[in-house]
Amino acid sequence: MIKSELVQKIAEANPHLYQRDVENIIEAILDEITMALARGDRVELRGFGAFSVKSRPARMGRNPRTGEQVRVSEKVVPYFKTGKEMRDRLNAPRR
């Protein structure tokens, strides 16, 4: 499923909303999650999972082609941990 299909499903279930509104709603949700992570906050969605950030320290890397040493500066990476209910649903016998 891609974003436009998600928009369509939600628009179908809510005929009183314009497709534009549904797009804005989904954008608002995703944007808020990203901004929260950029602030260093966590986003915990019970039953689904939790987004957080982890910091990776600066390290000396190597350009694999030239073998030259390069400094890789510290960075922050997003991390997602699947919620318990979601994990169970992925493995529930289907049908």
Partner: protein
């Protein structure tokens, strides 16, 4: 603390270790300063403020978005949300695990797991304005 860190990485020139240390401390501070946990309620509030639906309806829509995503994943589909990231379902084969406490071998049956792969846009936005050399 800086002494023990230096001893742990004897191979690195001292100045680099020190730069690394400073940054880590700085970042840890920044993360602590954020350090809040957002929930569905916070997302509903954003929808309420940005889209102008009632609070009740905003909450219901946040729930519906999560429900649609979860159902798609439960069907084994991948969910790709451009500029955000992708949720991918992976099937893992059977393997032998070990109870770390008792050392006892236990079989881990085949199962499905889901991983989140952040988009480059998200990664860039999260690192924006943060420590860079």
């Amino acid at each position: 603390m800086s002494i023990s860190r230096r001893l742990l990485t004897p191979g690195l020139p001292t100045n680099i270790v020190e730069i690394q240390m400073d940054r880590t401390a700085e970042k840890r501070g920044a993360l602590m300063a954020g350090g809040k946990t957002l929930t569905r309620a916070d997302l509903s509030e954003v929808v309420y403020q940005k889209v102008g639906l009632s609070r009740t309806e905003s909450a219901a829509l946040v729930e519906l978005v999560l429900k649609e995503i979860s159902e798609s994943l439960a069907r084994g589909e991948h969910v790709k949300l451009s500029s955000f990231g992708s949720f991918i379902v992976r099937s893992k084969g059977r393997r032998i695990g070990r109870n770390p406490k008792t050392g006892e071998e236990v079989p881990i049956e085949p199962r499905r797991v889901m991983v989140f792969k952040p988009s480059n846009i998200m990664k860039a936005r999260i690192n924006d304005g943060k420590a860079r050399s």
